[in-house]
Amino acid sequence: MTVESVFPRLEALLPHVQKPIQYVGGELNSTVKDWDACDVRWALMYPDAYEVGLPNQGTMILYEVLNEREGVLAERSYSVWPDLEALMRERGVPQFTVDAHRPIKAFDVFGLSFSTELGYTNMLTALDLAGIPLNAADRTMDDPVVLAGGHAAFNPEPIADFIDAAVIGDGEQAVLDITDIVRAWKAEGRPGGRDELLLRLAKTGGVYIPRFYDVEYLPDGRIGRVVPNRPGVPWRVSKHTVMDLDEWPYPKQPLVPLAETVHERMSVEIFRGCTRGCRFCQAGMITRPVRERSITGIGEMVERGLKATGFEEVGLLSLSSADHSEIADVTKGLADRYAEDKIGLSLPSTRVDAFNIDLANELSRNGRRSGLTFAPEGGSERIRKVINKMVSEEDLINTVATAYGNGWRQVKLYFMCGLPTETDEDVLQIGEMAKNVIAKGREVTGTNDIRCTVSIGGFVPKPHTPFQWAPQLSAEATDERLTKLRDSIRGDRKFGKNIGFRYHDGKPGIVEGLLSRGDRRLGAVIRAVYEGGGRFDGWREHFSYDRWMAAAEKGLTGTGVDVDWYTTRERTYEEVLPWDHLDSGLDKDWLWEDWQDALEEVEVEDCRWTPCFDCGVCPQMDTHIQVGPTGKKLLPLTVVNN
């Protein structure tokens, strides 16, 4: 059955909307396969605007991995802005893919990647526009399997009503395994309908099917237990881990959009996972163990990617890029190789020590030295021990002294507010640190023209981290603390004018916190927000705190719990957490011990260089961390004759 393109109908709407180019597809390196020649068809959505979604590495990787397979097709979809949504509703144009403009409902699997919980309302918009029932229970054989992935999927309970399935961890192999199951089921003539397909997926132990689990609540509102409700469904679902990154050199042909997007560069993931052990960092915890891409693998991906895209900048991505065991050779090798081609290199994640300045110098060899960014995360020595960010103020000051000495003129510092055990004093220390940085800069350079920008985000406790039990600081307390800091900075005559101060108010963090550690009872809240017009919750101009609070009041009526219960309440050891049946590999007892260590201000080293701390991941996966050095060099490529 051939599926018609909705493009002719969409085209008539495009002259009336902002930035129509984002809806037409046709990006360099995009793929349109023959619909009828494929028997398993995926629609992959990043539920945010095109400009944010297109550069997303996860979506790009899965798109390519699936399309490389014979008989498998994958197309991409992004959230449409409200101007187009209104026109689509008026004219009955369904949610579409940008590749061949096929309606989402026609696909076998509708996969959504959630980097953050703030994309949930956008998923509901897309489902509704697609003509797919919002509640998974109402779907029929005509509807695709709605599958969630991405970091937010490590606690998919708040969207359990709306999704058919969730996968946690690395997607590369997982999407191929799911494809095989869907293919076999279709080839057999779809025996047992949707239920049978979902059951087959559940039985693998690697796909979570919310409807196959019942959640029982205690009289006080806490969860009693989560129980599989049919035979063959495992008690816990495990995460997927790809061990050898060199076997998965994706994206090989990165997409190059015509429209402007948030990251205009060729990105190469140089390693996955992180064992620094920062206790607030969900990404670091759920992506363990560390797996490095080899220096030669990186070199090949950069070369091939630049040829395929024409980008002018290469981003070396990971959670802490300077930690790659051969990072010095990688950066020097790439800077040498592309010295003539005006290719810029960037290392987005940074560590505070002098080694980093050498790297930064290498990266900016041909360009200007404007700004360096560091993330001490906490203002006081004490709070940095709590969060296990092992940086002393002395380290930081020495680092910036070197930076200023090397010609850098501006330093940006990232912090969090609302960390566990935090007091006003810890936050006021942020200002002191900025002043010390500027004082040192003036001393080293002999000029007063030194800037330091302080950027502060609110801390949100996340599942699968040692802080999953921690109380979140209320929006009011966050705002109050940040106001005190702002006043102390602005009031300083000597340094105040040289310190930039950027912060977000505490309200969006409360909604993020509600969804992060939420459970199935939040489904009614998310739905009410969507029905009340909630869209693009990650965008300040679209986000409405009041809408969320009103929906929560209504949606949680009769449950005995409220927003504070989910956010500012501290959990106990005994409490069953909504995500306990999703196995990230981390041992819950280890997380609890690390939480206790945090409260006692005890630090934990990085297991790449010290003995194992038994976080549980490696034995559970029957593996160990994979780091170099390989000892290989990134040899200069032979010059290709034109």
Binding site: P15, H16, K19, L28, A100, L258, A259, E264, K342, R368
Partner: protein, 257 residues
């Protein structure tokens, strides 16, 4: 430094490319195909590219022009093929001539446009065109960066006429560029107008002429008009036609051979 003038298109769905989007795409294509560009001097060197007179976002074009500076001399036709292959279908490089003359931008005196008006009866469009042309001046309004502006759309119009039905479709109607889905325009009437506009200040765009047709002759197309620039270049006032702006360079290149 060798300078080469290129003619390019914005066809099919890629007519929604804005000029900024095109610039980025073109400069990436230059990198992918390793064109030996000349770079500007200064702290952040840029490849030497100058763009002339870009068509508005959403209008298709068969006749956009730009000029690039090369550090190494290249055969224009080989360069054209190389760049065309590196750009997505729809953004096509259709002509390349070595720049041998100056004042190229001044030679772009006028544009010839094709206006497809689906759902409009040809006779109705013909009558409206006659009313528009008979007017001394046609005041129209357009939102600009500096607010709502009122200006005359009639003075710049050198020709406005109905073309016979079934006139070859170019630009927008190119089926190969719309997912191969074909065209939904079946059965319904469709008027096709040919418009020649002098480049003046303030610039009069096809949209302005369409709003002039609406205000003077009540011509209100039910769906957005599909607009394609067919040519830009020197205007032959006698015949009301637009000629090839690269002709002088071509002739000079022949002589130089």
């Amino acid at each position: 430094m060798q300078r080469i003038r290129l003619r390019y298109t914005k066809r099919g769905r890629l007519r929604f490319t804005s000029h900024r989007d095109f610039q980025r795409a073109f400069e990436r294509a230059l990198r992918r195909s390793a064109v030996p560009m000349a770079y500007s001097a200064g702290f952040t060197p840029h490849p030497k590219v100058s763009y002339a007179n870009a068509a508005p976002t959403g209008t298709a074009s068969e006749a956009e022009y730009l000029e690039i500076g090369l550090a190494v001399t290249r055969d224009p036709e080989a360069l054209r093929r190389q760049l065309d292959e590196s750009l997505p279908p729809g953004l096509d490089i259709t002509d390349a001539v070595e720049a041998r003359t100056s004042n190229f931008v001044e030679r772009l005196e006028a544009s010839e446009w094709l206006l497809r008006l689906p759902g409009v009866e040809p006779e109705q469009a013909e009558r409206a065109a006659a009313v528009f042309l008979a007017a001394e001046a046609v005041e129209v309004q357009r939102m600009t960066k500096n607010g709502l502006r009122t200006f005359d759309a009639r003075g710049a119009v050198a020709a406005l006429e109905l073309l016979p039905e079934g006139t070859a479709q170019v630009g927008i109607g190119d089926d190969t560029l719309t997912d191969g889905a074909g065209d939904v325009r079946t059965g319904a009437p469709c008027a096709i107008l040919r418009l020649v506009v002098r480049h003046a200040t303030p610039a009069v765009r096809p949209d302005d002429v369409l709003s002039g047709l609406r205000s003077t002759a009540d011509l209100a197309p039910p769906v957005p008009a599909e607009v394609t620039r067919l040519a830009q270049g020197p205007l032959d006032e006698q015949t009301g036609t637009v000629t090839d702006p690269l002709a002088l360079d071509r002739a000079a290149a022949e002589v130089g051979r």
